[in-house]
Amino acid sequence: MISLRGITKTYEVGKEKVEVLKNIDLSVKAGEFVAIMGPSGSGKSTLMNIIGCLDRPTKGKYFLDGVDVSGLKDVELARVRNSSIGFVFQQFHLLPRLTALKNVELPMIYSGIGKKERRERAEEALRKMGLADRMDYLPNALSGGQRQRVAIARAIVNKPKLILADEPTGALDTKTSRSIMELFARLNEEGTTIVVVTHEPEVAKYAERIIMLRDGEIVPGEDYKRGLGQ
């Protein structure tokens, strides 16, 4: 599903070059549930942006579902994001002036799906998230957990192969966090590949595999899962 080969990302800060990611090799199989952990500044956000096709690596190759996306143009990357990737963010990132339903319809507007089908699919996704009675609410009228579920509905509505979640529970309380993570687990069971970026062990433990990043490099070893006491 995801195959990163020698991914390096360098930023130029003034005259200095800062290497945020150093020669990352990483593979995620289809249907896997992976957590990326690491302290702040470890480069996990940058890695997440590259996996999400929001950013391009300075060096290295990135194959998403067999396609080399590291050399794609902006337009093509937008298409990939639209059709193959579902994003879930810490701050939900819903458009405040659109209802839950309209927010969920948004990715389908960009993929050119007709009005009727859009509505049906958005309603279905919201029902699946248990928000059948909140479809016409504006985000401000929803609780944090509900907002995040709208965001998840939006992420899955275009039936992506990969869901990328960046600190999805960072703004939620423990109980709500648990229910959100259970939703991810359920989606994973249905076959969607999930990559979660987090610094919370409670979140990471839902993953089958944990990748530890430190100073732009993957810390070798496969035992983090056990190390979390599971």
Binding site: N49, D55, A78, F89, H93, Y110
Partner: protein, 397 residues
């Protein structure tokens, strides 16, 4: 993505900032409105001016302006009468000329029961009233006999009536031109339109005028051509025959009002374009207002742009979204401006008494122009929005 989605999106985001959208639009409303008002009033004024000049139509003015040689030979020539009754007979014999309007005027005092005022005294022939489209407000007009026998009757203008009679009925009363008594048979309608100066005039039949003033010269001749097609020929023939009769080179000249109207039309058009361009400056300023507000909007909505990009919006789609928003803003402003300008132009037309000319072309140009303003001034902000980095934008607070 479909256009209709974009338009809906644009409307909802404009609606979300009602006051801001309204104020931004106001710039365009005033700009488009001002241009429409200027064009409408300009075109209406031109039409009014032309119809006034052309009058009841097909008229040609005859002038006598002695050449330098003639003046050198006889310096007193300018004090001599311009036309004679002989000239009228010559002109009347030209087949292309339907009627010859001759008049003379002098300035003198008119009095009634001790009240006295200065007035222009016109001696006119029968076709005068018809050609100059003068109507009788009260009383009656001259009879054919009045012209033939030089009866001591007169018509007075509304202003003269007001001056001498105030609220009294002047019909049948006798006024004195100098010392000569004449009886008022009618009062003329107050002239309307832009040349309505409301002068104090008194009209008497030409024969009467000769008796009263003791002069026999004709100061003004206007010809009426048989049809609009022969105006040119009639004018040329008239000038030729008069010059031949008086043995002069080019002293008798004609002025065809159609061509004069054309020249005046050109002048008013130049004025309309000039003033319209000045009004156009306000449209330009309105456009800059749109650009300004759109730039603010892009900055404010940086996060939204990031979200849309993450969800798969291409840069082109973001650009289109903002461009359409700007175009909708100016289009609505433009349409409101057109109606605003239309209304004001109608009010002006009503007050000034000339037609307001809002053609569909003006409306179409107004609409297209306001859309163009939206595109031109929306391009920079829209381009800025589309060039945003999605990662930075998502992080934007």
């Amino acid at each position: 993505m479909r256009l209709i989605e974009n338009i809906k999106m644009a409307l909802s985001s404009l609606f979300a900032h009602k006051l801001r959208s309204f104020l931004t639009m106001l710039g365009i409303v005033i700009g488009v409105g001002a241009v429409i008002i200027v064009v409408a009033i300009g075109q209406g004024g031109e039409a009014a001016l032309k119809s006034k000049i052309v009058g009841s139509g097909n008229t040609i003015e005859v002038f006598y302006s002695p050449s330098e040689e003639e003046l050198r030979a006889n310096p007193n020539i300018i004090y001599q009468p311009a036309f004679t009754e002989e000239d009228i007979r010559i002109l009347e014999s030209i087949p292309e000329i339907k009627s010859v309007v001759a008049s003379s005027s002098t300035y003198g005092s008119v009095s009634y029961q001790g009240r006295e005022t200065d007035s222009t005294i016109f001696g006119i022939n029968e076709s005068f009233l018809e050609i100059y489209d003068m109507k009788i407000a009260s009383g009656k007009s001259f009879s054919a006999g009045d012209f033939i026998s030089g009866n001591r009757v007169c018509l007075i203008s509304q202003s003269l009536k007001d001056e001498l009679f105030e609220n009294e009925d002047p019909i049948g009363k006798v006024v004195r031109i100098g010392t000569q008594p004449v009886q008022i048979v009618g009062v003329l309608e107050k002239p309307s339109g832009i040349f309505a100066l409301g002068t104090k005039d008194i009209y008497v039949p030409f024969q009467t005028w000769k008796m009263i003033t003791g002069k026999s010269d004709i100061t003004q001749i206007t010809l009426q051509a048989a049809s609009p097609d022969v105006i040119q020929i009639a004018g040329e023939k008239a000038a030729y025959q008069l010059n031949a009769f008086h043995n002069t080179e080019d002293s008798y000249q004609v002025l065809n009002y159609e061509s004069l109207a054309e020249v005046i039309g050109q002048i008013t058009r130049i004025m309309t374009v000039t003033i319209g361009s000045i009004a156009g400056v306000s449209l330009f300023v309105g456009g800059i207002g749109v650009m300004n507000i759109m730039l603010v909007s892009v900055t404010e909505r940086t996060r939204e742009i990031g979200i849309r990009m993450a969800l798969g919006a291409t840069r082109m789609q973001i650009l289109t979204q903002f461009l359409i928003e700007a175009v909708i803003l100016t289009l609505i402003g433009g349409i409101v401006g057109i109606f605003f300008g239309w209304g004001v132009a109608e009010i002006f037309a009503l007050i000034l008494g000339w037609p307001s000319l809002i053609s569909w072309q003006v409306i179409l140009i107004g609409i297209l122009f306001s859309m163009a303003i939206g595109i031109i001034f929306g391009l920079l902000p829209a381009n800025k929005a589309s060039k945003l980095d999605p990662i930075e934008s998502l992080r934007y607070e």
